[in-house]
């Protein structure tokens, strides 16, 4: 019992112990933050990569892509039972414009199949209009889109009201004034988008009427009327909701099409219902450079999607796979005279989802090997499917450079922090050594009243352990608090001191990953306690070995 009493007394009464606790707390604090952020960074990359590409990706080494992909998918699903679903994917580049503005920007254009895409990725989770729907499409029901738009208009209006109240004598700072202007501009576009849906039926009817009139004028050979009608048709077309094959889903984060308020609220400028124009260079088929002619099509934005990967969301637009195939010269080419030179429709990649229990580590690698074997067999049987090498990779191999770099950073951080933590052990050792020296007479008294060597050593070991325990709990609680609130803390620092560490473009994600793994924290706390005991081991042994008479005579 005396061990506990004295250990607690020394903890409370000895100011030196607080230094040691502080040292341990700082080390644990740093460990928890660094390891948690870097680990959740890697986890988030995994989640994002799987959400975007599935678990395994089949890709062609050339822009020509992979043909016969539907047959290949069926073959893989038959050969590899671990495969849960697969979907073709096209990725190319284009120029995005917003009609009626001077906005131009290069973007990545992804061709996807909906709702099939939702089976292999988490695509549907990040959608705005169709959030949470199991089967998102390029043709969502109009009332749903309008409801979402209404909500968004109200939300934007609320943000505007909060920073720029209607009261006439309200003084706004230049920043607030600028933000208010941007919000008013966004509201204008959102209202236009809403109006496009509200008038969709009337515009479509008008478009069909003009089409009929054009046909009649053409038959009548009335060129003047035809010209006027065609002009009217182009105007109406720009205002109407285009058919599903000419609809696009925007990545939420393309600069200029949406923005964030200083509080982090997302404001859509180009909302579902508005049109955009994409110009592509069709690179999907063998060509001579002289043949390259850009193709341009307008699309109606029908939804937007956030994958939480800033580098992707800021430059991607999703369109229907078959539409992009046609635009990119990847659709089937049938030469009636010579079937041998006909080419099947192609895609750039096939994204595969694996059953969850096999979707990690070595199991996933094994599944990828099976898929690779299945692809190799298929390509032998269908030589026309691809004329370039086809690569099968797991998400991790595909993101290898990034993941390995972060994991190396994590290892390095652990190493550096371990060295720093060794200082805490030395600190505990020195402090306990000083205390043992100061307490030499007390040790003599304890032995005089019957305390054993083990008991005396136990006081100091428990003391070291308690320093480790209290320090590590304080550090762990502080570390967890900072990790959980790392985004508001970071934003606050950026706002108030201009100190911005997390650059969304550099670090890919919108938010700093902030998941705390309980196991990791438990390990760090346990190691800190062990370190505390380790630091107190020598002083404890020293105290235990003191002869009572020597200790009592100590000056």
């Amino acid at each position: 019992m005396y061990k506990l009493t004295l250990c607690l007394k020394y903890l409370v009464k000895r100011g030196l112990a607080y230094f040691a606790m502080f040292g341990v707390a700082v080390c644990v604090f740093l460990m928890v933050i660094c390891i948690s952020v870097l680990t959740s960074f890697v986890d988030k990359i995994e989640l994002a990569a799987k959400g975007l590409f599935g678990d395994v990706v089949i890709s062609s080494a050339s822009l020509g892509g992979v043909g016969e992909y539907d047959k290949l998918i069926r073959r893989i699903e038959k050969d590899v039972p671990a495969v849960e679903g697969a979907s073709p994917f096209i990725l190319t580049f284009g120029i995005l414009r917003v009609p009626g503005t001077d906005f131009r920007r290069t973007v990545q254009v992804a061709g996807i199949r909906l709702p099939e895409r939702a089976a292999v990725s988490d695509f549907e989770k990040g959608l705005f209009v169709q959030a949470g729907l199991d089967k998102p499409t390029f043709d969502p029901c109009q009332p749903l889109v309008m409801q979402r738009l209404r909500e968004d208009i109200l939300r934007t209006g609320g943000i505007l009201k909060a920073i720029a109240p209607v009261a006439p004598d309200t003084q706004l700072s230049p920043d607030q004034e600028n933000l208010a202007d941007r919000l008013r501009n966004a509201l204008y576009y959102q209202d236009q988008a809403y109006a496009a849906f509200r008038n969709a039926d009337a515009k479509r009817k008008r478009f069909e009427d003009i089409q009929a009139q054009i046909k009649a004028a053409d038959e009548a050979g009335d060129d003047a009327k035809l010209q006027l009608l065609e002009r009217d048709q182009a105007i109406i077309e720009r205002q109407m909701i285009l058919p599903p094959q000419r609809r696009a889903i925007l990545g939420l984060g393309i600069p200029g099409l949406s923005f964030r308020t200083p509080k982090g609220e997302v404001v859509r400028v180009i909302a579902p219902g508005q049109q955009i124009v994409l110009s592509l260079i069709p690179l999907g088929r063998n060509f001579s450079y002289a043949d390259i002619t850009p193709v341009t099509r307008s699309f109606t934005v029908i939804d937007d999607c956030s994958t939480d990967v800033a580098s992707i969301d800021s430059e991607i637009i999703y369109v229907p796979l078959e539409t992009l195939q046609r635009l990119n010269n990847m659709d089937a080419e049938v030469v009636a005279d010579d079937p041998d030179i006909s080419q099947p429709a192609r895609c750039s990649q096939i994204h595969i989802k694996v059953k969850p229990e096999l979707s990690r580590g070595l199991a996933l690698k094994d599944v990828a090997r099976q898929i690779d074997a299945s692809v190799a067999t298929f390509l032998k049987e269908h030589p026309n499917a691809s004329h370039s090498p086809v690569v099968v990779e797991t998400w991790r191999e595909r993101q290898g450079r990034l993941v390995n770099a972060i994991e190396s950073q994590r290892t390095l951080m652990i190493l550096i922090l371990s060295i720093i933590s060794a200082v805490a052990v030395v600190l505990i050792f020195v402090i306990l050594y000083v205390i043992v020296v100061q307490k030499t007479r007390d040790i003599g008294v304890l032995k005089a009243v019957g305390a054993s060597n083990f008991g005396v050593a136990g006081i100091f070991l428990a003391y070291g352990g308690a320093i480790g325990l209290i320090g590590s709990i304080v550090g762990a609680v502080g570390g967890c608090y900072v990790v959980w609130n790392i985004n508001p803390i970071h934003d606050g620092m950026a706002r108030n001191f201009g100190f911005e560490v997390w650059n969304r473009e550099t670090f890919m994600f919108e938010m700093i990953p902030n998941t705390v793994e309980v196991n990791t924290v438990a390990w760090i706390v346990a190691l800190a306690i062990i370190a505390g005991i380790f630091g107190s081991l020598l002083p404890g042994i020293l105290a235990a070995r003191r002869q009572p008479v020597e200790a009592l005579r100590y000056e």
Partner: protein
């Protein structure tokens, strides 16, 4: 029917220390025996080996040669844990410089031997009894009002009384006092001696008190004179 074994029996006790290159022979064949409940004073000049004798009898140190028997048990035959237990339960020490633990209150200092004797569970079970015993002991030495005070808030005499209460806490059979009044004025010294005497009589202890004050020693039942490591009378 044989006579009961004496409380403390010392025979041919030798003890030397190494101080640098020199060997200091402190005790040179000391022998004596003390009956149970006897109050014996050991007097001698500084360096005569009084404290060393007390440390050997109280199992704080190991002898070079000779035997010490406590209640007939040769202490040399005891294992380390039994020596600890004997020190805890059967021997109470009072030191010249009190040696109270500064972090503990008066009551906690008095309770220390009981805490050493008990495990955590044992302490939870017997905490009340031990506290009552410690309070009683402190009342007996006249410190009932000072139980929550820290040693630094007490006078020298009061500190020594706390040390006596601590020594008596486990009601040991043997009370060993090493110059208990050596650091006090003569009036306080006499009071302390009275406290020691009364307490030991009440509990029925065998007491060895080391002192260089002959007048104080005269209060004991018997006086042993130690000179140059040997008993002279």
């Amino acid at each position: 029917m044989s006579n009961p074994a004496p409380g403390i029996e010392v025979h041919g006790l030798h003890k030397s220390y190494k101080l640098g290159r020199t060997h200091l022979h402190v005790l040179r064949g000391v022998s004596f025996s003390i009956e149970s409940n006897e109050f014996v004073a050991v007097v001698g000049a500084s360096g005569s080996g009084k404290s060393t004798l007390l440390h050997l009898v109280g199992l704080l140190d190991r002898m070079d040669k000779g035997t010490v028997k406590l209640d007939g048990v040769d202490v040399a035959s005891l294992s380390r844990s039994k020596r600890n237990r004997t020190r805890c339960r059967d021997v109470g020490f009072v030191f010249q410089f009190y040696h109270l633990l500064p972090e503990l209150t008066v009551l906690e200092n008095a309770l220390l031997p009981a805490k050493v004797d008990e495990s955590v569970l044992g302490w939870i079970r017997h905490r009340g009894e031990h506290r009552a015993a410690a309070i009683e002991m402190l009342e007996r030495v006249g410190l009932s009002e000072r139980m929550k005070h820290k040693p630094k808030e007490l006078s020298g005499g009061e500190r020594q009384r706390v040390a006596i209460a601590r020594a008596l806490m486990n009601r040991p059979k043997f009370l060993l006092a090493d110059e208990p009044t050596g650091n006090l004025d003569s009036r306080t010294g006499k009071q302390i001696l009275q406290v020691l005497r009364t307490a030991s009589q009440d509990i029925g202890q065998t007491v060895i008190m080391v002192t260089h004050d002959v007048a104080l020693a005269a209060e004991a039942d018997r006086v042993l004179h130690l000179r140059d490591g040997k008993l002279t009378k």
